[in-house]
Amino acid sequence: MGPAPCLGLLLGLLALPATLGQRSSGSPINSSQPQSFAIVSFKWNHVKDPYIITLWILVASLAKIVFHLSHKVTRVVPESALLIVLGLFLGGIVWAADHIASFTLTPNVFFFYLLPPIVLDAGYFMPNRLFFGNLGSILLYAVIGTVWNAATTGLSLYGVYLTGIMGHLDIGLLDFLLFGSLIAAVDPVAVLAVFEEVHVNEVLFIIVFGESLLNDAVTVVLYNVFESFVAIGPENVTGIECAKGIVSFFVVSLGGTLVGIFFAFLLSLVSRFTKHVRIIEPGFVFIISYLSYLTAEMLSLSAILAITFCGICCQKYVKANISEQSSTTVRYTMKMLASGAETIIFMFLGISAVNPEIWTWNTAFILLTLVFISVYRVIGVVLQTWILNHYRMVQLEIIDQVVMSYGGLRGAVAFALVALLDMNKVKERNLFVSTTIIVVFFTVIFQGLTIKPLVQWLKVKKTEHREPKLNEKLHGRAFDHILSAIEDISGQIGHNYLRDKWSNFDRKFLSKILMRRSAQKSRDQILNVFHELNLKDAITYVAEGERRGSLAFIRSPSTDNMVNVDFSTPRPSTVESSVSYLLREKAGPVCLDMQALEQRRKSIRDTEDTVTHHTLQQYLYKPRQEHKHLYSRHEIMHNEDEKQDKEIFHRTMRKRLESFKSTKLGINHSKKLNKIHKRDRGQKRRNSSVIPNGKIPSENPVQDFALKEKDLEFSEPEDSNDYETLHLGKGVDFLADVTKQNFTDTPSGIDNPVFSADDGQSVYMKFSPWLSSEDTVVPSQRARVQIPYSPNNFRRLTPFRLSNKSIDSFLQADGPEDRPRSFLPESTHM
């Protein structure tokens, strides 16, 4: 089914409410006097408004689906343009059915419901560092640029008007300036919509986008000032009024910003205490930000600035405070609201244009407006960039300037403002409205269409999507410190100096107030990247596991051969010789495991728990697909998955680190280790020749068990080891303890890998079951050490040693078949 019939269906659906609305309003008497009790009554009027709104949203969303059915179209034509065209089309149909423009974009709806989500989204996901790094440039463009655009456009139009080309209009200088001020502002919605698809480099993007956000204050002030001037009449405008206008600019912009910051503070503070109401946690973000918008609006300050800064300021603390799930919820909800609002805005811009009542055509006026806004935008950008480049470190080049000039899109804000104008005060309101619509359509459709080819043609530096690298982050951090130190040493106050001071202040005071204690710990960006990378690795591993149809391989490098090892049933001790062999040969690397031993010792009390837990954990893989069918409004059941993910994560991490360790620690032990590897491998070969596939050709229940285990695909030596340790009991640990003393002085490698760095799970994790999987190794080591002391256990130990044949999975990690695998993630994310 192509998009066409689909669209037709939609249109039919849309025309329905319109006609229905007419009919039902035409015959009110019928419904008001019911003859008898109706089992089913048709209450259209009852649901009319929400129904229509919902239908429109549905249509807009469906339209989006339809657009994206064809990648060819969306790649060339920006979605915003498509939506406008669709709007025009739908508007035409509604008009044909109804002959009244019943659906238009009213300023009220726009400013109260559609704009805030978009701006909040912009603020909340604002790349702060980039934004503040370019704040100077952004402010210049936003303030001076907008004033310049407004003034020049208004004045030039007035100048041309005086020549008489436009014919007679009931219009004065102030009206022109008013028009200039509302048409001057670059629109955040349109800019976002178009630039998101273009992917220019981040500096360029942040400048254009930042400008479009911050110029709101200027627009609002200019608009209000000129509107009141028009209202009181030109003869009453005095110098004092003008001065008031300038003062009001500062009040409106700074006031709006302060309101935003205040609510950001409030929001961060609230989010610190939402630990027990996780389920409504995301709601706070939206509600409090929206309050900032409304408050600013109430105080006639710049609402856009308020909500922008609310988002910008709170993001760091809120993201640190709320749980990961909530954070995801916030992210998705925000994106959904914003992109939904955007869709609706553009569609309704199209629909609103289909209304003959508002159309007043004046070719000269409209054309000249188009020419002037484009020309003055270019001149303004060039002039300001020229000034800026004296100060900027990274120069804005000609190409950037072209894109910036061309990216000066006008949009719904201008339309909403012009629609707000009062017909009685501004006589030529309709002309302004029509011109604004033309300008918006022209910029969004024409410039939106052409900006992509332009960017390609000019070879504008594009954003490179690179994975975050740990090294990069580390060096970046080092840079910040070095640069601020150099500034300190040379006695200058610069960017880095300020940033340094701010982050000190933030760390010392703000974070303490606004962040949960646990969040303070993990908020470090480097940690985040680390965490992200690890997660990515873990996911790669799991994906790999799924590809192979088993997760088992993740657990241990040589699981394939070890599947059958299981609970410590005594086995024929045919291999005693090999054990002693190993004992003789492998005393060297024992130190490697000492930290693991210590780990073990720490968790001595939890051993039992751990084992139980561990076993349970193993089986958690089984019901993976199943979800708890419990309903609770206040709780989301996600424990299973979460734990599983975490386990996978930790296991993966361990593997990574182990393989790493054996490489890195090679500095100390390399030769020894290498020698041992070889032996080890020789050993392995021997073992496997004795017992093919590590399976003991034994009889009885054991095998049964082994088979079952295999089916479950969890079976692996860890279990057995844990059990073994359990059986062997404290004695082993104790002895290990003793032996540890002898070995710990050797610098041990990476102990207790990521986990302390991991947020919110520290205590649990430290003794967590899968941590003990590190001890995979330990029992064997320990056993080895321990055997001389307790010959009773000797026999029991042998079998699993044998089947475990790797003996030392640390060393195993270096095994040839394992190496490429363990480095797989790196190579994929490079």
Binding site: G133, L135, G136, H390, Y391, M393, Q395, E464, R466, L470, N471, E472, L474, H475, A478, F479, H481, I482, L483, S484, A485, I486, I489, S490, Q492, I493, H495, N496, Y497, D500, K501, N504, R507, R517, Q520, K521, D524, I526, F530, N534, R656, L657, F660, K661, T663, K664, G666, I667, H677, I750, D751, P753, V754, A757, D814, G815, R819, F823, S827, M830
Partner: protein, 214 residues
């Protein structure tokens, strides 16, 4: 030296050598005298008098870099006890921003110099390799600003980073291969695609008489 720097000839020589303008040199010289308390040379202790530096987690590394002879473009190795103004300028010149007049080759050298400086900072034992141990030290210092972080976390981060470096530089390693540390070539490799020249600079050195807008 010292006061002799006001001589135009010497100034010009310095300007030529380090690429600073005479205004910048003059300014830095004033600062130098302030730091050295009108002495001809600066010793490590002089840096203690800078209050803002105190909170810098990698403070010692940075101060160290000033006295590292490798950075002073003398062939010799080791640590200097004191540095004179010329050395001071030399170190500072690592932080000059790129100039538009630079050609490809100059840019490349410029970049290399900056990276070399960084590399020396990490490679504290001067063996031409950033070993795991050295890397861990740096990371620990870097993260020391956060009191909640344990050393282990820092270490495992360093380990992760090292592993990443290994995978970038060596690719897939053989089973017996040992990655001993990041050499300067590897270091260059890691920085590929990151335009350090636009990052590693300090604005003031581009100083013009007008104040700071940002």
């Amino acid at each position: 030296m010292g006061s002799a720097h006001s001589l135009p000839a010497e100034m010009r020589a310095l300007a030529e050598k380090t690429g600073f303008t005479s205004d910048q040199i003059e300014h830095l010289h004033r600062r130098f005298k302030q730091l050295s308390r009108d002495q001809l040379t600066i010793r490590k202790e002089n840096f203690d008098s800078i209050p803002d530096l105190e909170f810098n987690p990698i403070r010692s590394k940075i101060v160290h870099a000033f006295f590292d002879k490798r950075n002073l473009r003398q062939e010799s190795d080791g640590l200097a006890d004191e540095i004179d103004f010329e050395d001071f300028l030399t170190i500072m010149s690592y932080f000059r921003p790129i100039e538009t007049s630079m050609d490809e080759e100059q840019l490349e050298r410029f970049r290399r110099d900056k990276l070399k400086f960084l590399f020396h900072m990490y490679d504290s034992d001067r063996d031409g390799k950033i070993t795991l141990h050295e890397y861990r030290n740096v990371v620990e210092e870097l993260l020391s600003g956060n009191p909640h972080l344990e050393k282990e976390a820092a270490r495992s981060i360093a380990d992760g980073a090292m592993m990443e470096a290994a995978s970038i530089c060596v690719g897939q390693m053989g089973p017996d291969q040992v990655y001993e540390g990041i050499t300067f070539e590897d270091f260059l490799k890691m920085w590929q695609g990151i335009d350090i020249e636009t990052k590693m600079h300090v604005r003031f050195l581009n100083m013009e008489p007008i104040g700071h807008c940002y």
